[in-house]
Structure formats: C-alpha cells, structure tokens
Amino acid sequence: MDPVTLLPQMFNGLVQGTFYALLSLGLAIIFGVLRVVNFAHGAFFMLGAFAAYILLQQSGLPFWAALIVAPLVVGLLGMVLERTLIRRLYALDPLYNFLLTFGITLILQDAMRLRYGMQGQPYAPPRELAGATNLGLFFYPNYRLFAVLFAIAVCVAVWYLIERTRVGMIVRAATEKPDLTRALGVDVDRWVTPVFGFGVGLAALGGVLAAPMQSVYPLMGAELIITVFAVVVIGGLGSIVGAIVAGLLVGVVFGIGLAVVPPLANTLVFILMAVVLLVRPAGLFGSVEAA
C-alpha cells in the first residue's frame, strides 16, 4: 500500500479519532465524579450539531459563535436533566442510570426526527476554512485540519484542567475517594452538576465540529456512542489519558482499516476491544480495581 493513498485515510481516521476522544473524555469525567455511564452522550453530540444548525438558520449565528454557544446551551440542558432525573438514582446501582440515559436518548432522537426528519441537514464549513492545503504528499481540506487541531487542543486543555488545576484536583479526589474528600471539607456535591454539564458540553462541542463534515441528522450520535463505549473499554473507564489516547488510536486504526480492508473497517474497533479484554480487562490505562 503506497503512502499516497494510505496517509489521507489515516488522517481521516485521526479526525474521527478526535471525536472519539472528545466523547470518551466527557464520559470519563462524568463517570469519575457521578459514577454514571451516560448513554445519552451520543444524543448530546447530535444536539450540539443541531444547535449549530438551528442557530445558523434561525438567527444567522455563524460557525465560530456556534462553537461557543451550542456547547453552553446543550451543557445547560444536561445540567437540567441531571438535576431533575439523573440525580434521583445516585443511590442505586449505576445500571439504572444507564437505562435512564438510554431512555433520554430515545426521546431526544425521536423528538429531533419528528421535527427535522431523518434526512440530513447540510451545514457548510465557515468561509475562512474553505479550500485545501498541500501537505506535501496530498491535499487535505482546511476545515478538517482545523477540526483535528482544535479538538486535540481542547483535549489537552481539559487534561491540563483535570491534572494541573485546583478544580481538577477536587474532581480527581472526588473520583478516587469521595468520602475522604468530603471529610476533608470539600463540598463534592456542589461539583456534580457542573461536571455533568461540562462533559455534556464537550460532547456538544464535538457535534458542532462534526456538523460541517457530515450532514446533521438525528441518528448521527447513536452509532458513534456505541463505538465510543468500545473506546472506553479499550482505554479504561475513568482514565483521562486513556480516553484521549484510545480515542485517537481507534480512529487511526479505523482509518487504516478503511484504506486496507474497507468492509472490515467498522469491525476492527470491536476486534481491538476483544483483544484488550483478553489481555488487559481493565483497559490500557485503567486500574485493575476499576474493571
């Protein structure tokens, strides 16, 4: 396989991988603090894309504004859902919240289908990012380059926030030993709703970034979230670095798969997951006790 055909596909895979990373990062943070595996994460991704689309259609808000406004709006919706529904089930087994968020997913998807139909809505990339750049061996669309770099920058920023700041320290402490953190005088509960909103906002941000690359449609998050679950199993649930690395890795594997064995590309991710389960059931970056 010559690099001229393989490299663009690897790049495409990397683009896909940044979405996996953004979503699994949000899942990891939410799981860490709330012990909730948020099935609706894919639906929030989809809502992010729709928010960008609606903002453009209704109020002419350009892509750059949507990049900030859409995650805020969807993150706020996430916080409302946390306050009204998800909060009620913390005392129970995490599976109940998994089922609850599955129900939320069905409702959100169906509501968008009823309003906008199953057909995809087009969303043009911003004019500033039209065209393509010569990367030496091949031309690559400017928008995709931007999306990759931007998403990676967001991932790094979030990593910095969690690992190097005081807020991140509280989140990490609450993840590992909630009771001890409380005993030390930290009001853990105060952080629950904002953390959920933040994770949801990351998903919505991914949706806004994805909107110009694919059309905006109600089921755009549904298959993505299942692949992201495989990514989470590969990376190790609750691991920040694991979420980012596994996301990018799975994306590149998918890209190579598309170039080498197209019919198997979608399956490769799950084969990778099976191998990881066999060799390291806790995931590449997960601690054994978390599995």
């Binding site: 129970l92 599976l95 409702i107 199993v233």
Partner: protein, 347 residues
Amino acid sequence: MNTRTVRLAGYGIGLILALALPRILYPVLALDILLWGLFAISVDLLLGFVGLLSFGHAMFWGLGGYAAGYLTKSIALDYPFAALVGAGAAVLLAVPTGYLAIRSTGIYFAMVTLAFAQMVFYVVNEARPITGGENGLQGISRTFLGSAIQDATAFYYAALPLILFGYWLAYRIVHSPFGHVLVAIRDNEARAQALGYPTGRYKLLAFVLSAFLSGLAGGLYSLGHGFAALELVHWSTSGTAVVMTILGGIGTLWGSILGAAIFLLLRDWLSTFTDAWGVVTGTIFIVIVLGFRRGIWGTLLHSLHRRRGSAGEITTLTEPAITTVDGAEPRPREGEEGAPVSPATRA
C-alpha cells in the same frame, strides 16, 4: 388454596391464553408477543438471576433469525430444524462473546455486550451474499415435511410447542440447582467462589443458555414474518428486549411475557395515531427506572405476598437485583437514603 394449586391454575390459564391468543388478537401480533416474551425472558435470565445486564442480545436474536431464514431459503429446511439451527448459531456466537464479556461485570458488561452486538450488526450488513445487506432476506417461506405453511394462524400453532419448550427450559434453568448457584453468584460472587463454585463457568453457561433462547425466538420470528432485516441486529432491538424485561419485572421470568405483551399492544394501539414511538419507549424507560423498578409482575407478586404475609420464594421481590459494579460501593449522597439495592450484593 395452597401455593401449588394456585401455581397449577396459573399455568392452566396461561396455556389456555396461549392457545386462544390468535383468536383474541390477530395471529401475527399474537406470535410477536410470545416470541418477544421469550426474547425478554432470555434477557431476564441474565439480568434477574445472574445480575448481568446484556445490552447486546439483539445479536443472538438476529443471528438466529438470519440463520433460520437463510437455511429455509437455501435448502428449504423444515421450520423446527431451521429455528433450532438458528438457536445453535446463537450459541456458537455466545461462547466467544460470553467468554470475553463475563470478564467484566456491572456497567462494563452492558457496554461490552452492546459493543459486540454492534460488531455483529456491521458484519451482517457487510455479508451481503448471505444476509442481503440492507435489503435483508426477503420471501422466507417456512415449510414442514415438504409443504409450505402459509397461514399465519397455522404457523402460530406450529411454533407454539417450540416457544413453550423455550419457556419451560427457562423455568427449569431457574429452578434447578444450577439456577440457585446463579442467584448465589448474583447476590455475592466472592462468597459463591469461596464456597467452591467456578463462578466464571456458571456465568458463561448462563450466558450461552440465554443466547440459545434468544436465537430460538429470533429464528421463529424471522420465519413468522417471512423476512429477516437488519433491524433484528440493531442496538435498539436489544434496548426493546430490556425495556420489556424491566416493564414486566426483573427476576420474575413470566413478567417478561407480560412486559412484551403490554409493550407490543401499546405500540399496536398507538401506531394508529402517532409515530412518535421513540418518545413513548423512552418515557417508559424513564418512568420504570425512576419509580416503578419492580415492574408489573413484580408489583403484583409483591402485593400478593404482603397480603399473605409470606416472603415468597424468589428473593428478588424486595428490589430488582442488579448487582453493583465490582469493587465500587454504591454511593449514597447527602440528604438521600442509603442504597436500597438488594443488600446482600454488598460484601
């Protein structure tokens, strides 16, 4: 009346109802209720009695459906054999996926099974020469002893013995010494291990048996409808089976049939004036999980037992028994009561 009489009467009524169902409803819907019921029972077998939530059972239901459909189309296999081969195919798939999935518990198990089912979905979609890809397998005409069974009512009664066999098998599994070990594993895996039970092997066998029932139901489903489509292996199908199980009541077995019946009747009724079925299903999920965790059958049994003042034989009546994620304590928050998940699950 003692319990035995009540139970026998219950089975008698159930059998009469099963025989009369195609006369009460239209036969295709009647068959759907029994088959989705069997499918939901297979989910309950894992969820209610081993404490494992499979969110990927569509892979077994779908593989059973495709295998039965393909063999009927290609070599005109008689329907009972086609359905059983479908169940066998599901078993073959369940061995490797189960082996990998049972390495995880709780929420991980749900995610892993969901992911495997998605893999099967992609494989089925790509395997066009066999599965027909997006078009599915059309025009499956079920046969028996060389002659076609065209009438839907006739096929209902033809399939009934196999379905009842599936119900009976599930009942036998739950009420066998094997089933009791499963419940012991659900309530406290470490203790079951300490007692000398190879819990991994028990869980795998339960997973495989559950897949067998799903495959059998799925095989009969595609034969009953005359086609096998991608929807059979779609993730939403796994979700539908789970909602039927929890609607009926986790760990109640027969509740799953009731859950399937109510779900399908509701859909049948609502489809005349709305197509917002996803909103309805999602709402059912949320309502049950928030405030009706015993399910219908579970609530009935609970009130029955409370009136009689006995504890009942199934231990799950107090609260649905989903085990906690290994090692992670349920985390009650301030101002809320402590975790009322079946107390025995916490070591």
